[in-house]
Symmetry: C2
DNA sequence: CTATTATGGACATATAAAGTCTTTTATTGG
DNA sequence: CCAATAAAAGACTTTATATGTCCATAATAG
């Protein structure tokens, strides 16, 4: 079990955008170069972020991506959910027993993970 | 990101063995039937558990698998590590920056997950 | 209008998980 | 010792998912 590279790229992109203080859009070309990834692939990931309302996009010359207005509220969990989806990390295989005691433990652990990720904001990493 | 089915099978197998109170070995055949998985595949997973010292195996007639003597100490984390390996859930892509602030956050979240999984034992689920 | 930039869909490739088959090794009961 | 039983090991196939490419389309600024 590993976080995908896509999540990695998404998180770093969000941090780049957050450090780029004013509302000047950054193009995918530039963002891709900084992360050493192909622009077309990164573009697909960023489109997910747009659809989930994490960032805004502007087509055309001097276009690119900007963070949404209330970006300071965006948590790590928000970004990860936008890229990886929101389904649980564990499903019981035994006829999908809804009362599986193992599943209960696994979900409680996942909750701890999510709580931490929910409390950490991209904006916390940008304060100078 | 999902836990593998292998982890699922491993956890359920450990619970089956724990409920089978005496030291009578259970064969992979029986364990596989109960979980509706092929015996050869399950066998590979159980071999990992043997190598990591979670369970003991006995070949030959009336052989099979038993929990190790101090099985009451075995945590969910132990089992998951035996099956999925111990490497971290997140690696920074940017030239593997060791001081990546994003990585720090991700690792702290992973720690919360692991703490919970370390505190939960298979034996807790078996107390009648 | 044209250059620029994001979006979308259809592919292609790579990697990992899931599962099978066969042989070998170990152990027990007779 | 022998035969039946059961785990271990290796090579292999299949399936699923992540990663990545290519090209056409849509939107926008100048």
């Amino acid at each position: 079990m590993k976080y995908s590279k896509a999540t990695n790229y998404a998180l770093h992109t969000m941090l780049f955008l957050a450090k780029q203080i004013p509302n000047k859009p950054m193009g995918v070309q530039q963002l891709a170069e900084m992360q050493n990834v192909s622009p077309t692939y990164l573009s697909k990931i960023l489109t997910k972020l747009v659809k989930e309302g994490m960032i805004n996009s502007v087509s055309g010359a001097n276009g690119g991506y900007t963070l949404r207005h209330d970006w300071e509220d965006i948590s790590f969990l928000d970004i990860i959910h936008a890229v990886e989806g929101k389904s649980s990390l564990f499903d019981c295989c035994l006829y999908n027993d809804p009362k599986c005691v193992i599943k209960e433990v696994m979900l409680s652990a996942e909750e701890k993970l999510e709580n931490e990720l929910r409390n950490r904001k991209i904006s916390d990493l940008v304060k100078k």
